[in-house]
Subunit: 192 residues, 2 copies
DNA sequence: GTCTATAATTCGATAGAC
DNA sequence: GTCTATCGAATTATAGAC
């Protein structure tokens, strides 16, 4: 990936985030790059391959992250806190890619779509296995495993929205601390 | 809205949910309806107006719901539990519309897009005011108000995904109970 | 690498006969 | 309400000159 490709990659990210993949035309990309439509095909093979590149790049970071966490010596709760950290870090550092990951994957086609879905399930399954272990050890509350995995991940999955465009009031450490307290201790104040 | 319009409306919902609004063509809709493309314009004015109708219909249900909750006599936590119930009910009864609400609103244009965004902010503001009151009364934990609102809503916002396609293991009451416990008491088991 | 020009297709929408 | 036929615009992508 040379320099021009890199510039094109980041320009594409911004535009697709803003307008959506389907609504972003090659002409839009060319205008944003300040070149002709035909030049874009020097950097990529097709519009479709651009989406594939973006989505599988960011997917790789999640898969690497969760694998590192799972082979660590931490207990279930600390492993889940590492998952929180993974999402916080990527949401801050790569908010646009995370947005496309949740909003644009339906635009993949054929075997790429199937591959993506299976990767997504693989990731969820790994998180689920941590939660299952936490329930088995009684450090997490007993509840439907699938629902628990969904609830735990849902807050993290939309986190990018707070960082993709809006300025943010506090630093990464404080954000992580508040999210962890909300998730693990709950919303109700029991300190009284 | 006559009967044919109703059938078309529901057919559109399924197709747009499955393929996305941009990727769903008038020809796709016609094929699914078993009629010609030109017939569709007997039921709607344009493809764009179809999206507007769907999104503002479901938006109205949320606005009515949150307004009813806010003018009730319940305390902050019970009002938030009513918000959970609102999402659970709509996620079960109208999962496709909820999916479009979160995934397709970017495809609105001009003043309709602006209107939608302002409606969305209005709803969030109302939820936020309940949470603010809960923090003031010390029944909710002290934390950044914006982050708290985001975390509370994020789990509810993606709930439709569990009901749009997948079969589900437990009933509405049990689902609501488990979500409430997760949100308000937290993920950690403190019963020991 | 960059442009002009254009192919080949698909899109939303309409006119007009029945 | 339903069809046939089609318009005009927009789309992705390519060929070929420089």
């Amino acid at each position: 990936m040379n320099e021009k490709h890199q510039i094109f990659y980041e320009t594409s990210l911004k535009l697709v985030y803003k307008k959506g993949f389907k609504a972003t035309t090659m002409r839009d990309l060319a205008e944003e790059m300040g070149c002709d439509v035909s030049n874009i095909y020097n950097y990529i093979d097709s519009k479709q391959s651009l989406l594939e590149e973006i989505l599988f790049n960011i997917n790789d970071l999640f898969q690497e992250g969760i694998d590192l966490i799972r082979c660590s010596d931490y207990g279930p709760i600390d492993q889940l806190k590492q998952v929180v950290r993974l999402y916080v870090n990527l949401s801050i550092e790569r908010p646009l890619e995370l947005s496309l990951l949740t909003n644009e994957w339906r635009n993949l086609k054929g075997e790429k779509l199937e591959l993506f879905i299976s990767e997504r399930e693989k990731f969820e399954h790994k998180v689920k296995s941590i939660i299952r272990e936490g329930m088995r050890k009684k450090v997490l509350i007993e509840m439907d495993l699938k629902l628990a995995t969904f609830l735990f991940l849902s807050a993290l999955r939309l986190l990018f929205d707070k960082y993709a465009l809006t300025e943010n009031p506090f630093n990464k450490i404080e954000l992580e601390r508040q999210i962890n307290r909300y998730i693990f201790q709950g919303f109700t104040n029991n300190s009284k």
